[in-house]
Amino acid sequence: MKPRPCLLNFALLVMLFVLSGPSAFTQPPRSTEDLFISDNPVGRTGGNLVVSLRSEPKTLNPVTSTDVSSREVIAQLTSDMIHINRSSQRTEPAIAKAWKVSANGLQYRLELRHGLRFSDGSAFDADDVVFSFKVYLDEHVHSPQRDTLIVAGKPIVVRKLDQYTISVELSQPYAAAERLFDSVAILPRRLLEPAYNDGKLDQAWGLGTPPQLIAGLGPFRLKSYVPGQSLTLERNPYYWKVDKAGNRLPYLNELTYVFVANADAEAIRFQAGDTDIINRLNADDYSVLEKDEHAGSFHLQDIGSSLEFNFLFFNLNSSLPSQLVRKQIWFRDARFRQAVSLAIDRNAMVRVVYRGRGTPLWTPVTPANNLWVDTSIPHPARSVEDAKKILISAGFVWNAEGVLLDKSNSPVEFTIITSASNAQRVKMATMIQSDLKDLGIQVQVVSLDFHSVLDRIFQTHDYEAAVLGLGAGDVDPSAEMNVWMSSGNDHVWDLGEPHPSTPWEAEIDRLMEEQLSATKRRKRKALYDRVQEILAEQAPIICLASPDILVGAKNEIENFKPAALDPHTLWNSPELFLSSGGSL
Amino acid sequence: MSVSTATTASRDETECHASFLTVEDLTVEYRVNSRSFRAVDGVSFGIDAGEIVGLLGESGCGKTTTALSALRLLPGTARVVSGRWYFRGRDLLNLTEAQLREVRGAEVSVIFQDSSGLNPVMRTGTQVIEVLRAHRNLSLQEARGRAQSIFESLGLIEFDRISNAYPHQLSGGQRQRIAIAQALICQPSLVIADEPTAHVDVDTAAEILTCMKNMREKHRVSFILISHDPETLAGLADRIIVMYAGQVVEQGPAKDVLSNPLHPYTQALLQCTLDQPAANRAIREKKRFSFIPGSTPDPFRILPGCRFSPRCAERMPICDSDPALVEHAGRQWVRCFKYEAD
């Protein structure tokens, strides 16, 4: 009787081994798989990472998601064909291991990796890619992604050549065509086709969906979701990257997002050690955490300027409430805008608003965009005298009390609207107000809730000036077409122009169009530099400052390489590992 | 120092044998908005066991304040400046709060005007029984029995219905009887009845007064009966003390005071009540009328001299100085210069 329990135990042990074997880290890469070999240092497997999210993800559906949190999670669950390396800002092969461009620049031939599997273990091939693009491009689905896949007014055409080859056709040459594929998640046809055929794709993969029904090619897959609290991802055992030693990535066992609705609470939880990485710290919290840095178990990093540019702009719309027409005469005068620009103390702004952790801007392209920034644009220091000279040349005068008067002798005063929820922009507006006092301009700062601001800028055009920020999603100028083209829907200062209303806007339109179809980077850079020069000269938007990207991570996290592009910290999540190897 | 305490101690003893209750030189002040006035000014009187003493006077003359000061039931703005309440040899004003609680309701109890003393959100039976249980160590059952017997003795026959009712479900007479039951259930030796018949109809009033008479006869309970109505006192009180503006102006056996009032105030008071037809006529014709010309003096502005003199028909020059309470005809005491000569 005695040995039996022992035997039973042994049998159980073996069974456990068998059961846990394939899904654990030991799964050897099969020779049939085309894997991506990471050239990062080899790490240790295991461990969980906890990261905070500012708001709860709304959906896990890559087709419909628009909000930042959802996209951040989806990025961990899915992969794209060609990826922009967040660090080098250049494209690199992802699921497409190589691609060729036809001589006329209209056809791309993408070769897919062989033998890949989705995170549920099902096989991947060209059909999934074709299905994915069919979904994204379907007009009835209304995927926000669709717009990015339209080149020169026509959607791209994706065709299957064979099981692992895809062809993509463009209607006209497009300089940034490779970059189009970034973040376009490849969907598993097997799981989503039924929903698509029923016309219910937009409701698929909600947060309530059971984890086994969600699969992707990303480094992680969904494990559990607790409404309002957290979302846990687990390692995808079929991920297509390996390290130099041949270990399958990712190293981490689990990645947990906890929802923390408030920036300060986020900082506090990081400080308390509840979370392991903090993504976008503001400068104020950075200064607080800095004091704990030496004693604490974490380190902070200021990785320099971000792509976000904050700017002041005047209402130059042609359709606007009648009471603003009088003031628009000033705003339309480039000299007025230049004077305002000259009177703004950008360096002080960086010091006050960002505690020095930011960059003053004279062009919308921030230094973070090292490929495209035009370094020749002058950075004139604040000069009230010069500003006054410009104003005098534009026919403005001052009365005895130092109030600036226009040609019809009415005092120059205007209101800057800004989003109340963004403390930094409120601060900028307040500083502008103080700066322009020196020019005799009375400025009112009105902080409204964000949607009211958007409504005034985009809908009613009932505002005089506004401080706004735009964060470029990509470094390539192609991403900014909608901002600089006079017909673009983010051409904030003058929306919905059928034709450019000024010669310089016409020139920008021409330059932007030209750079888009130019294929040589040098040529494109020259064209885009000219756009930046015109913008700096005409000052339709008066660029103010860009915050630095401030991040923090526990010391145990290795391979931590924050980047200027979104997502700053977790973009290389497959390569992150813990020096202790265990749980934090 | 030591001498004086010794003398007071000896006096205490003599007093305690001398009478059942003695009030000595009681002075109570109210303080309102930083001004103070004397609601009771140097009042002294005594009561024997089983005696019913009536306190008579218009409202605001200090009757209630005098009586309630015994149990320290005055509002926070009032302060006993001087005086003593010797009750069965103890000065009530010097008792601790705990000692006083044992006296209240058990030895000295109060029947409040109207039925405002009844809690509107408690069953009446509970309110009676809890008084008993607060002082006597009785089971609920025993206490209920006692309550039932006192209810019946007061003419509240349906004990179950009435004791389960809330005050607002009962008639004014019933409520008043319950208030009396509360006061009497512990068989106290002194009951202060503050206008017990003020808000009940004539028949009930008579019944209530009879009740009190019975109590006195059965248990030798003493009563201080406060009223503004000489008629209420007429049938019941052994002795009457007439107060005006915080002072005793006349006191003596009820029969004598009512039949032969000495003080002009007492005379006027009796005159008004006896002249009922005239009063009724005035009410019918909705005329303003006053029992006595003028009104009680402003308590903040008491002038020296006889306090009634401004309203007195028989005012004399001497009335500008303070009259003393003098004995008249060996039975009554009166505070008026008319009688000082005697």
């Binding site: 920036a263 300060d264 900082a267 506090i268 104020d284 919290d285 200064s287 607080v288 103390d345 002080a348 010091r351 006050v352 505690r355 020095g356 209101t415 609207i417 109340a420 929820s421 403390a423 409120v426 601060k427 507006a429 307040t430 500083m431 107000q433 103080s434 009112q444 700062v445 009105v446 902080s447 409204l448 809730d449 949607h451 009211s452 409504d455 009932d462 505002y463 005089e464 | 109210y30 303080r31 309102v32 908005n33 930083s34 001004r35 103070s36 509002p75 703005t77 109207d114 405002s116 607002h168």
Partner: protein
């Protein structure tokens, strides 16, 4: 006697507060919007009564500040550059009591040096000056709004409790409606319909009207409850029997009963309303930067770094405590004195 003196003292204290706020221009050394961008979050200036040589002076002096080279944001006193504090100095221009142009300030130092008796904020503005100016808006808006919403609440609450029936039902359902509605949206809508630039006076009026108008429901419900139970009391029935008019009965009998609730509510609402202005300014209905109010000054405390690192930024919060205490104590004292009057009858 004691009570009345308490009321007097409290009234004096409350009055002094309001007067301080009214004379903010004179008492404050600087303009509330004046920024010193090199002097961010400077801790309160130390007043020195002895000079570097160790001699004592009656006139206090302020020492210049220098940013420490290695750690930006920290400042050290430069004892070699000391400036005496002067009284009745010329400084920025302001309108005394809102009428007279004036440029004398109670105290100050010679520019370019700065004295920050309560430190400076994130723009390098003088916290003391902002605190004084901020009181103008907060104190008056808070008390006016309290009066407004309590008046509406009393009016509707007492009459609903007194008349009962359909009137009561309508008023109370309205109150519930008011308590349940998402006001934030109406306020957003109101803001959208108003012109962008609103003069300070109109904004002030708007602020207190909005705060006061929205807040009536709570006191109304509480007061109605009291009125309802008071209605059944004997003396009220008696007074009605004597032919007292409805108005008279409500005024003389129901209102005094509700007074304790009223005073309690007033004591609670005034502080809440002072703080409510922050929410409104978020929606663009309050005063925006750079105009100070105690509400928006307190709101800066919500930034984690300010909360942790700059203790002097707690000043508005610490100031609110005695202010609220004065309000409360005044309420209590008034209530007590009302009680006294009842007894003395």
């Amino acid at each position: 006697m004691k009570l009345n003196r308490t009321i007097m003292v409290l009234l004096l204290a409350a009055g002094a507060l309001h007067i301080f706020a009214l004379c903010a221009g004179f008492l404050a050394p600087y303009d509330f919007a004046q920024q010193n961008r090199d002097l961010l979050y400077v801790p309160p200036s130390r007043l020195h009564f002895n000079d570097p040589q160790g001699r004592w002076h009656l006139r206090p002096a302020i020492c210049g500040l220098a940013e420490l080279p290695n750690s930006p944001g920290t400042y050290a006193e430069d004892r070699s550059r000391c400036l005496p504090v002067r009284f009745l100095v010329r400084g920025s221009e302001y309108k005394f009591l809102g009428i007279f142009h004036c440029s004398r300030h109670l105290f100050g130092v010679d520019p370019p040096a700065r004295m920050f008796l309560l430190g400076s904020d994130g723009y390098g503005r003088d916290v003391l000056s902002r605190l004084l100016y901020g009181g103008q808006l907060s104190l008056f808006c808070g008390s006016l709004a309290t009066i407004l919403s309590l008046s509406i609440g009393v009016l509707l609450g007492v009459s609903a409790g007194y008349y009962g029936g359909w009137f009561d039902a309508v008023v109370m359902r309205c109150a519930e409606l008011f308590l349940a509605l998402p006001w934030i949206y109406l306020l957003l809508a109101i803001r959208a319909f108003l012109p962008l630039h609103i003069s300070a006076g109109r904004m002030f009026f708007l602020l207190f009207a909005v705060i006061g108008f929205v807040g009536w429901a709570r006191p109304a419900r509480l007061i109605r409850g009291v009125a309802l139970s008071g209605k059944e009391r004997g003396y009220l029935l008696a007074a009605r029997g004597f032919g007292g008019s409805d108005l008279y009965l409500m005024k003389r009998h129901l209102l005094p009963q509700a007074s304790s609730i009223l005073v309690t509510q007033a004591g609670l609402l005034a502080p809440q309303y002072i703080l409510a202005e922050v929410t409104l300014s978020f929606l663009g209905l309050g005063v925006g930067e750079p105009v100070p109010s105690w509400g928006n000054m307190l709101a800066t405390l919500l930034q984690y770094d300010v909360l942790v690192s700059y203790w002097w930024m707690w000043a508005p919060g610490l100031l609110l405590i005695p202010v609220f205490l004065v309000y409360h104590a005044l309420g209590n004292a008034l209530q007590e004195s009302a009680d006294c009057r009842v007894y003395s009858q």
